[in-house]
Subunit: 431 residues, 2 copies
């Protein structure tokens, strides 16, 4: 055992061993898997691009002396063994799947910062008392398979594996089929059981909102995660020829959907603090001279107050109901996550690590959802944010400054060693 | 020369030689190219399914003693030679491309009824004084490549071949590339020049509206074609994370499009007789947790009165302009076709043929667009309608009764022979 507590000599040595240049180059290199022509990334969950990126991660991990493994839900693990392998590990990580036109930092940063932290510890000759593990969680983004955060939900026991495997993408390919292809491509990787005891989890991530960037503060101590609900709406009408079916006799699924979405657009400002997005819409058959027989769209709401979510929920259900006639409509709520607060003790450790390294930090909530939400249900969990330019994310223009990228990894290395030396008490929960 | 005038012995013999069972079986057989699991057809223009269907048509034509050829715009021709091959032929036909979930009769009926008419004449030993030709026009539907009726527009000199070849589908494949693949697949087919003199054109088609079906009348004498305008609207906003960009700072392309489309929904009943359809909408990037940066949609309007079209046009432009902010918008009009009346003389010949065959007929306009619109600019043109059940078309439930299918082909055979014997004077046009 070589280090203890915030500001310990070993912790400072671990942070000092972070190679910011190497981390930056790896962010750039990983961004070439699924790179788009216009500077972003399209690396959908379990796609060929993601499988190739996973192979690169395993290669870097092995080069750095770490051990790679995976579980049945497609979560990838890169482990720095501890002095006592039987002790529950401290976990870090995030995800490497992306939005269809996403950026190079969302998710990838947390995985590569974790990898850099473990390799830095190893290079500095620091052997942690318990194992340190980087996770790359399967399908955080929900861009190909919905809902998202599938890997962390399965790991934490919230979703049975068989339910997850049955989910299909827009082309009808199931998660199960895609997972089997990943498994075949990674035949040499040992399999880890789905869900194992953890001492703690810390996720590093870009903020995806503009607070840190505007304030010029490099480190965010995340207080919790904004609540969210997600819905799927399926409007069913009757197809027909655009030139021959009299307007009054139509059951036009596009027009019914437009009435609903325009009403949702008016609703948003009426509930202060509400974020409301219709990000996906598909028509059937989607041809200029055919009256659409089906419109399928998503609704995503977020609010920092659960009461705000409940208000919006009731209004949304009324709007969808009111806009449907003469079509029929089905609204399914596919995800619900209440507002969440990370343990004070975890927030304190992250703040102390930043202070020990002389890095300004600010406490702030996460407006976006993260795998940390699910890990928080099974072990003490915290998150470290770094700024991203103008808060832009889920877009190819997403960008972070190299000095912030390195600073976040230094805080992470310090916190991970601290947690490995002094694991927090497990959460006491009711129910 | 074997027949002359409506009700001539040869005309009645030609009509009597129609084999309704064979025509029905060929409609069923052609429907297997691109058949969907739920009873319809997805046979997009120049797709593999359409190429295979064209091969089948050529096979049937050659078996029946007809000659097949094609032109550089992908129009396919099946010819019954006449006594005087130097005389301008009488043309019939329609198209065999379909909507993404279309029916088995739209377009295919006109091509197969024409094929049956020519084979019936040949089998009855009737040699027309001038050639009779069936055309299958390229890309009538505009489902894969927009706008539609490309083949007939190119044939009639309305669109230069190079402009047509440059149009791309949603995957970026151009008409030119697709045409070259068709040409390679049909290497044995003689090439015909693009546009040749015609004595007349008659198109048989299903009504696609419910008038004949409700009246129980088997034959429609088409008086003209309803006017139409088509637009493409591209709304450009800014992508962003659904959970982090404050509602007031968003430039959400979906919400702007929904405001416009909901306003178009309210516009439709305010212009009596207007048909208005938004049949196609695509979002970019189209993911549930990303604010859409682009929404692209079609607007199709039709009206039996050109003044109604002009009124709707002005209102549409105002609606699109008003709904855009804070996004930007571009509206392009991609097609405009005024209301059209077919020559009285052609209507009279069709009505006389129906009367000679003892088939009830009704004069009515076409609410849908057809290739006959463009042929009407180069030669005397008419159309024959048969009923379709409940007027349903552009849908897999499209259906016609076998007796109506046969009746329409009998009228067509009678009219084609009449026109071949007594060609109408060419249209005199101003300008």
């Amino acid at each position: 055992m070589t280090g203890e507590g915030a500001g310990s000599a070993a912790g400072l040595r671990a942070a000092g061993a972070i190679d910011g240049g190497r981390l930056w180059r790896r962010l750039e290199a990983l961004g070439r898997f699924g790179a788009t022509a216009t500077g972003g990334v399209c690396r959908l969950a379990l796609s060929e691009a993601e499988i190739a990126a996973r192979r690169q991660l395993v290669g870097w991990a092995r080069d750095g002396g770490l051990e790679a493994s995976a579980d049945a839900a497609g979560n990838l693990f890169l482990e720095l063994p501890g002095e006592a392998p039987e002790l529950a590990p401290v976990l870090t990580g995030s995800h490497i799947d992306s939005q269809p036109s996403g950026g190079r930092f969302d998710g990838a940063y947390g995985v590569l910062a974790g990898l850099e932290a473990l390799i830095a510890l190893k290079e500095a000759g620091i052997r942690p008392p318990r194992p340190l593990v980087v996770a790359a969680w399967m399908n955080e983004e929900a861009a190909r398979f919905a809902p998202g955060m599938m890997g962390s939900k399965a790991f934490c026991g919230e979703w049975p594996l068989e339910q997850l495997r049955a989910v299909a993408d827009a082309e009808g390919v199931t998660v199960g089929t895609a997972l089997d292809a990943v498994r075949a491509a990674e035949a040499g990787l040992p399999e880890r059981p789905l869900g194992f005891p953890l001492a703690a989890f810390v996720e590093a991530h870009i903020e995806q909102a503009p607070l840190l960037d505007r304030a010029g503060v490099p480190i965010g101590v995340v207080t919790g995660i904004q609540g969210t609900r997600r819905y799927r709406v399926t409007v069913t009408g009757v197809a027909g020829h655009a030139g021959t079916v009299p307007q009054a006799e139509r059951q036009d699924a596009m027009m019914a959907a437009a009435r609903m979405i325009a009403a949702l657009d008016r609703l948003a400002p009426e509930v202060p603090g509400l974020m409301l997005t219709v990000g996906l819409l598909r028509l059937q058959p989607n041809a200029p001279s055919v009256i659409p027989r089906e419109a399928y769209f998503s609704i995503d709401i977020r609010h920092l107050d659960d009461a705000g979510l409940a208000t919006a929920d009731a209004r949304i259900r009324a709007i969808v109901e009111a806009g449907a006639a003469p079509c029929s409509v089905r609204l399914e709520q596919i995800a619900e996550a209440a507002n969440l607060t990370f343990p004070e003790a975890m927030q304190r450790r992250i703040a102390a690590a930043a202070a020990a390294l002389g890095l300004p930090a600010r406490h702030l909530p996460s407006a976006a959802g993260h795998d940390a939400r699910h890990l928080n249900g099974v072990c003490p969990t915290g998150m470290i944010f770094i700024p991203c330019r103008d808060g832009i994310s889920h877009d190819e223009r997403e960008w972070c400054r190299p000095e912030d990228v390195a600073a976040g990894a230094r805080v992470l290395a310090h916190v991970l060693l601290d947690l490995a030396c002094n694991p927090p008490p497990p959460p006491s929960r009711v129910g």
